[in-house]
Symmetry: C2
């Protein structure tokens, strides 16, 4: 269950790459901004409006486009403090998954990663003030199996975007579909 690739390659079918350059351009565009009209996209990519629509639909059906979401400004809700917490747990195997779920359920927690090495989980959270930060860390510590935590306060979010495609190098773009690991 916890194989190296096991959890990353699960259920929702790892869609093998089958993209031409137009697809990558299109996906890069909509990843960055889904408000663009079909016409704009059609012009930029030199395709007909219908073709754009057809491709988008296909990518949705195949799960390449998982969803379309509004991106909200956390500051608009007073969420101006961010913390990165390293969590180590007591190694009674089997509990890891449950602890991960518990961590994910803590209010204010935004990201949870299970990692190899001495630190077991990396938890990224967002809160409004110091009181909430203390409460959040207390809640994490109180989870059964959590051994030790150490937190770093984020002073500046330099990059937070999830732009999968524009983050890729040329090499990565070339490597789509090929499995050379």
């Amino acid at each position: 269950m916890f194989g190296i690739n096991g959890l990353l390659m699960d259920s929702s079918a790892p869609n093998e790459g089958d993209f031409d350059e137009k697809d990558l351009q299109l996906l890069e565009h909509v990843e960055d901004d889904f408000d663009k009209s079909l016409e704009e996209l059609a012009d930029e990519l030199d395709l007909s409006k219908s073709a754009i629509h057809y491709r988008l639909k296909k990518h949705r059906e195949r799960g390449v486009i998982k969803s379309v979401n509004a991106t909200l400004d956390p500051l608009a809700f007073g969420l101006n403090m961010m913390v990165i917490t390293n969590v180590s747990v007591t190694h009674e195997r089997g509990y890891a998954e449950e602890i991960g779920e518990r961590l994910s359920a803590v209010k204010g927690v935004e990201q949870v990663y299970y990692t190899m090495g001495d630190v077991d989980f990396v938890v990224i959270s967002r809160v409004q003030n110091r009181t909430q930060m203390n409460d959040l860390i207390d809640e994490i510590i109180s989870i059964d199996g959590v051994n030790e935590t150490s937190s770093q306060f984020v002073m500046n979010e330099l990059k937070t975007d999830r732009k999968v495609i524009s983050n890729m190098s040329e090499q990565m773009r070339a490597g789509i579909g090929s499995r050379t690991d």
Copy 2:
């Protein structure tokens, strides 16, 4: 026009909260799924289609909704390895910002945080294979001013969503607008 708060309410203004319960519900919905039709949203929130449209437009104009984006599946592009890298830098102040920019520009890097404490940057990256992972870490090390790095391989992404609103506790929801830190 420019009252007591005038200067605080300017242009790029961290938008002070001014949300009723309907706003929060609406924003929670569109943050989770922007594909819902105005009609669906109108039904769920007991408002007219026009009212939903009106509110969404307002939130956009105020920057509460920063953008609308397609969320892509990284696995569809073979990006099935994730690394969290702690980067410490030589403390010649003033360089930090430039180093942050350089880190952000490295292909494959998804998130960069500048933190307090002994570790200076936390960098989260996504690559397709071990070769790319090594290349990426080499590139980070080669950045001028970077002192030391230590990386953790991510075995499982338990939570990666940026659902600002659904991640908030009741206390946080109540705390919108009030500044009690």
